[in-house]
């Protein structure tokens, strides 16, 4: 777990503990927790952590923002915090000020492409856009004949078909048909769709790692409470070894995600080293979500399969987060190609450079 040695994470954790307690949320069938949580996060300036003061944000460092996302994962936070942070970050790259309210980024998959025409109008379709339905604005990355542009778009100008991911969060299809943005500016050199996907992928990796930390925590606790065959199930070696494996998956996810976050926070540009770190984090965290989440369910037995139990808030969300900003399969192919092009004898130097 990333120690809350910074004020951003401390503030966030206090808000999550007060207003995003997983059991309270899980009991609340009317989603009445959402508005107060979002309001508290907004008042603390957290959704615009990555936006400089002069563009309307709170100007936190990349590192603090990443630590905040890890904390959000530990609470399986289901409001568009990560999405608004990413949108604010993207807009800030082109020096576009962030408006108030929920935002998300378009596209959210490396395979979707938005285009911009000579009149500055945006067109294209993006699937699996997280929290598009809740967003007031979109930060859009678009391709035109002059290169890549970044645009702020009013959500009411865009057609959004609602959908849900496996974690029951909104994951919607967004269609832009010659939409005029509120603002559009050229993306600076070095910021393109791959950059956005790597940033998004690392955000999701940190959230998955956080969710796994919590799954380990509640699984260990449950195993020390639940009695079967006249003893606590934590005393069975089979259960112990399963939990040790869950700890391993949680550890791998945490190490991969925090390493990638550190790499991006300290990088001057997104070279092969950052690519290795960010792609690896998404791949390894996605694998851990499957393996680790599976063990957490196995330890809990039937109770963990009920909608009343909080486990699914972590396990299903971690699985859903695998799909955003490029799945592990996608990144594995891309990373494999990168390694192949560099050649066999350049593989170890790349790994050792980190």
């Amino acid at each position: 777990m990333v120690e809350s040695d910074n004020i951003v994470v401390e503030t966030a954790e206090k808000i999550f503990a007060d207003l995003a307690d997983p059991q309270t949320i899980n009991n609340d069938k009317k989603n009445s927790w959402q508005a107060p949580l979002w309001q508290a996060l907004s008042e603390a300036g957290l959704p615009l952590s990555w936006v400089p003061d002069d563009l309307g944000g709170s100007g936190a460092s990349l590192a603090d923002g990443f630590a905040l996302l890890n904390a959000a994962g530990r609470f399986a936070v289901a409001v568009p915090l990560a999405e608004t942070m990413l949108a604010g970050w993207l807009l800030a790259q082109a020096r576009i000020a962030s408006p108030e309210g929920e935002m998300t980024v378009v596209p959210a998959s490396p395979k979707d492409r938005i285009t911009i025409d000579g009149d500055g109008a945006l067109s294209g379709r993006a699937r699996g856009v997280p929290f598009a339905k809740a967003a007031k604005h979109f930060a859009v990355l678009a391709h035109g004949k002059d290169g890549v542009s970044i645009a702020l778009v009013d959500a009411s100008k865009v057609r959004t078909e609602p959908g849900l991911n496996v974690g029951y969060d909104h994951s919607d299809t967004v269609t832009l048909d010659k939409v005029q943005p509120v603002t559009v500016k050229p993306a600076p050199k070095g910021v393109d769709q791959t950059t956005l996907m790597l940033m998004g992928g690392v955000a999701r990796s940190l959230q998955i790692a956080g969710a796994l930390e919590s799954m380990l925590d509640i699984s260990v606790r449950y195993s020390n409470e639940r009695v079967a065959f006249e003893k606590k199930i934590s005393k069975f070696q089979a259960v112990q070894h399963n939990l040790a494996r869950l700890a391993g998956e949680s550890a791998a996810a945490l190490a991969a995600a925090t390493s990638a976050a550190d790499a991006i926070a300290n990088a001057k540009s997104f070279g092969d080293e950052v690519y290795l770190e960010a792609a690896s984090a998404k791949i390894r965290c996605a694998e851990a979500a499957e393996k680790g989440g599976g063990i957490a369910h196995q330890v809990h037995g039937a109770i963990g399969f009920t909608i009343e139990h909080i486990l699914h808030r972590y396990s299903l969300r971690a699985l859903a987060w695998r799909d955003d900003f490029g799945s592990e399969s996608y990144w594995a192919v891309e990373l494999g190609k990168l390694v192949a092009v560099r050649g066999a004898d350049e593989l170890w130097p790349l790994v050792a450079s980190r």
């Binding site: 945490l254 790994v351 050792a352 980190r354």
Partner: protein, 386 residues
């Protein structure tokens, strides 16, 4: 929170990169000079005394130890770099690896001064080889069931019994072993074992080679018959060996050797696949590289925490658990992908030969130096389950 596992994103300091260049240049020279072939992990000549002395001359053995014992007082992160570069190059480290990683640190902590002054500089010069005498025919993972007796006699102890699976005992100059000096007590079954420094190639010690499924003979049975060990060769507390296995185990468990043992097959696969892999090969390689990178970052993180004086015991056990499982599966995953390599790949035979050896090596990786089951027990204890 029950278990706050920590894996800080530690980076190797700049001076490590200079050292890495020196190690690579040295290894390239040795390869060019024919000392060893990096493409041959199954070489017969794993004991190369000359190479060992050259590594010593560079100051890369005992490099974290005090200068008065021949060390360099460098950091564990610098040692980490030397270890990983040697491992990736398939360098013949057998002669010095155990002494450098394990035996030297034990001596530093528990040996009397005159023994330290005698032996440690020779380890640093790459002159002597160590073995570890833990397992016995009826005591493997259950270390504290050891029965080989050390009976008090005038000026020392007489040793009787058998150690087994002892790597390098046939070439070793010394062994650090545990022997039974007292029976276990009712309250503490771990009581009664004492750690000793054993001088090999002496009367009363017989080393019998044991063939392995790889075709190699690198571990042994070591039979002691009234072998005499002087009093000053006792390491630490008599009957108290169980107290002495503490944080150094973390170094032993989390080093690069815990996930790089079969790495060569991945390099060779990338070479065989070439610059334009099909989708399946690219995906397979990408996953393996992501897993490798993650392992290494975990391992470096533990090394950095140890260097900073922390004791990440559970984290180190996790690194060894998932690292050894990974390096065990690696040859099989590479084999899956090698099925699609073009017939025309120029290194096809090298890859096949390497896979043949790696697949035969794989079963031992989750057994040696603490089985997966033992490690998971340690992790479970750290999680508060036992």
């Amino acid at each position: 929170m029950t278990a706050a596992l920590r894996f800080d994103p530690i980076r190797l300091p700049e001076k490590c990169e200079q050292l890495r260049k020196e190690v690579r240049a040295f290894l390239a020279e040795e390869i060019a000079g024919g000392t060893f072939d990096p493409h041959k992990p199954n070489r017969e000549d794993t004991d190369v005394p000359e190479f060992s002395r050259k590594v010593g001359a560079r100051g890369w053995l005992g490099m974290t130890w005090p200068k008065k014992y021949g060390g360099q007082e460098r950091s564990f992160l610098e040692r980490y770099v030397v270890t990983e570069e040697m491992r990736v190059a398939n360098a013949p480290t057998r002669r010095f690896f155990v002494a450098d990683r394990q035996s030297g640190p034990v001596l530093l902590k528990y040996a009397p001064e005159h023994i330290k002054m005698d032996i440690l500089p020779r380890i640093c010069r790459g002159e002597i080889c160590f073995a570890i005498g833990m397992s016995e025919p009826n005591s493997g993972s259950d270390l504290f069931a050891a029965k080989t007796r050390a009976t008090k006699t005038d000026g020392g102890y007489l040793i009787n019994g058998t150690k087994i699976w002892t790597s390098s005992a046939h070439i070793a100059d010394y062994m650090i072993a545990i022997f039974r000096t007292s029976p276990p007590t009712k309250e503490n079954r771990r009581h009664g074992l004492t750690q000793f420094l054993v001088k090999m190639k002496q009367p009363g010690i017989k080393v019998n080679p044991i063939g392995q499924i790889t075709g190699q003979y690198e571990f042994n049975e070591v039979v002691f018959t009234d072998h005499f060990i002087p009093d000053d060769h006792v390491l630490g507390e008599v009957d108290g060996a169980w107290k002495q296995a503490t944080s150094e185990l973390a170094y032993e468990r989390s080093g690069p050797e815990r996930f790089l043992e079969t790495y060569y097959v991945l390099t060779e696969l990338v070479r065989a696949v070439g610059p334009n892999p099909d989708t399946r090969s690219a995906e397979g390689i990408g996953r393996l590289v992501a897993q490798l990178h993650t392992m290494r970052r975990m391992s470096v993180s533990v090394a950095g925490m140890l260097q900073a004086g922390k004791e990440p015991v559970v984290e180190a056990s996790i690194v060894k658990d998932i690292g050894t499982v990974w390096e065990q599966q690696l040859p099989h995953r590479v084999r899956d992908l090698a099925a699609f390599v073009e017939e025309t790949a120029t290194n096809r035979e090298t890859l096949e030969r390497q896979l043949d050896f790696a697949i035969k090596t794989a079963p031992k990786l989750t057994i040696q130096g603490g089985t997966t089951e033992v490690l998971r027990g340690i992790i479970a204890r750290g999680l508060g389950l036992r």
